[in-house]
């Protein structure tokens, strides 16, 4: 037997011995999730645990991952009949969008605290941002942004589609650029007060760049969409999205989803509106309502319909 093999055996032995220590926190907790009520966290233990230790709120330390200093107020802990599932009830509703860290002490014999993270599935969270900005918080019908362009370009379905697609494209590119600028230049150097100037400059730049690139690379596409590019700058959604993602400190993927949802929502709104307005040309509308006034009334009815999405929660 060579020293090499001996060393290998010793190493694997040490690993096997160390494993339980490493896996202790994982072994103890079989499952964790946010509860049905907004102020609950459910924890499932792998085996039956000491009821007195579990039900003592003083043994817990719960905080949002980004603010470890702010301890959340735990009101009570109730262990279910089977001795495995504990329900943590908090005094105030939790912000389920953020990952929470739960540290429990006094469970293991060693007295070491087991800590674990509770968070929603990340993909679901991303999708909920997308659907949220697409339907629930549709920028046109529930945030009332981008209305000038909305009423200006929703007369024909073709125009609406072209405008919506151009808009989504510019939106995503400029939101990503704004995110980089915000995270790596504005925030580190304390230049937050320059947000408006920088973001509007970036948007104008993006539009100009898309214009130039499209003209050279795909003239046919440019002929179809070029006219809408100028209009994009005058749209408040395009500057609202960078401001919102800076306010909410979204990360890269979240920003991307927000921009995509905002653009898609605008496309959806334009398309719906243009379908109605094409029909309205055949209808007999009172003279005083012709043109813009009736368009506002129709938009109001769409807004009422979109109000129905407000209760929608996914994931």
């Amino acid at each position: 037997m060579t020293t090499h093999t001996i060393r290998r055996i010793l190493l694997s032995l040490a690993l096997v011995l160390a494993l339980p220590v490493l896996a202790q926190a994982q072994d103890l907790i079989a499952g964790k999730s946010f509860g049905k009520a907004p102020n609950e966290i459910l924890v499932t233990f792998a085996s039956a645990v000491d009821r007195a230790a579990v039900e003592n709120p003083a043994n817990y330390r719960v905080y949002e991952e980004q603010d470890p200093d702010i301890k959340l107020n735990l009101e009570s802990v109730v262990l279910a009949e089977d001795g495995k599932t504990a329900t943590l009830t908090f005094r105030e509703p939790l912000n389920a969008r953020l990952p929470h860290v739960v540290a429990v002490s006094g469970l293991a014999e060693s007295g070491a605290a087991a800590s674990f993270k509770v968070m929603k599935p990340y993909l679901g969270y991303l999708l909920s941002i997308l659907v949220g900005s697409l339907l629930i918080n549709n920028f046109v019908f529930t945030k009332y942004l981008g209305l000038c362009v909305f009423f200006g370009t929703s007369k024909r379905k073709d125009t609406a589609k072209g405008m919506g697609l151009t808009f989504t494209m510019v939106m995503v590119v400029s939101a990503i650029m704004s995110w980089f600028f915000y995270q790596f230049i504005l925030k580190p150097y304390g230049l937050n007060f320059l947000q408006i100037v920088v973001f509007i400059g970036l948007v104008s730049l993006t539009v100009q760049a898309v214009d130039t690139v499209l003209r050279k690379v795909n003239p046919a596409l440019f002929n179809a969409f070029g006219v809408y590019l100028v209009l994009v700058i005058a749209n408040c959604v395009i500057i609202a999205v960078p401001l919102i993602l800076a306010d909410n400190e979204y990360n890269f993927l979240e920003s991307f989803m927000l921009a995509l949802g905002a653009g898609g929502g605008f496309l959806l709104a334009l398309y719906l509106m243009s379908s109605v307005r094409e029909r309205m040309e055949l209808a007999n509308i009172p003279t005083t309502f012709k043109g813009v006034p009736i368009a506002f009334i129709v938009a109001g009815q769409f807004a009422l319909a979109f109000l129905g999405f407000s209760g929608l929660t996914l994931f």
């Binding site: 007060f193 408006i196 509007i200 395009i238 500057i239 919102i244 005083t288 309502f289 938009a299 109001g300």
Partner: protein
């Protein structure tokens, strides 16, 4: 080139003939979004008035040194600078009103009306005329917002400027944010109707 209108005519033009909200149908977002009370309309109106006048004067001053090809980005950055100023001033001195406006103060930067006035007027006229044109447009926007706020506050909550006038709430619906769409549409139709009646009376 100078306009032949007097200062007063310029102001009246902004308020009546070319009212930004009801005539030009520009800057609709705040007209729908936050015109729920007279006070909101007034506050945002003040902010827009300030930005419009300051940007008009700035562009009128520097119009000779701005290259025509980069004029639009120059306008945008000028407006953005003044919006940053009013944004920070309001946040510092009137935090409550600022919180009510939310994102709309920052969005003044994308208001089509301001860019349009710079392109159509301030880039051609002298600083005096631009100043009064800016005042007219700003006042026109402010009065339009206040008119909307007046109707919505009175019908929705039965109050004016926070004081109880009617003592009951005729149509709570008008306080809902989305009622802005209906309110703007109905008021535009109303103004169209007045115009039609006026023309008919003139002809007869």
């Amino acid at each position: 080139m100078a306009t032949d209108k007097t200062n007063l005519q310029l102001v009246v033009n902004g308020i009546l003939n070319e009212n930004p909200i009801f005539r030009l149908v520009l800057s609709m977002c705040p007209a729908v979004g936050i015109s729920t009370t007279v006070m909101n309309g007034f506050m945002l109106g003040i902010a827009v008035l300030f930005v419009q006048v300051c940007s008009s004067c700035t562009i009128a001053l520097f119009k000779n040194v701005i290259h025509p090809r980069i004029r639009i980005p120059t306008y945008t950055l000028t407006i953005a600078t003044w919006v940053t100023v009013i944004d920070m001033v309001l946040a510092a001195y009137l935090p409550e009103a600022y919180a009510k406006m939310g994102i709309f103060i920052k969005l003044i930067v994308a208001f089509a009306i301001i860019t349009m006035r710079l392109e159509m007027f301030a880039s051609k006229e002298n600083i005096n005329a631009s100043f009064w044109d800016g005042i007219g447009m700003g006042l026109g926007f402010m009065l339009g917002m206040m008119a909307l706020g007046f109707v919505r506050e009175l019908l929705g909550m039965g109050t004016l400027l926070g004081y109880d006038v009617l003592g009951f709430k005729p149509m709570l619906f008008f306080v809902l944010p989305l009622a802005g769409f209906f309110c703007v549409g109905l008021m535009m139709a109303f103004f169209n109707y007045i115009e039609i009646v006026y023309k008919r009376a003139k002809r007869a």
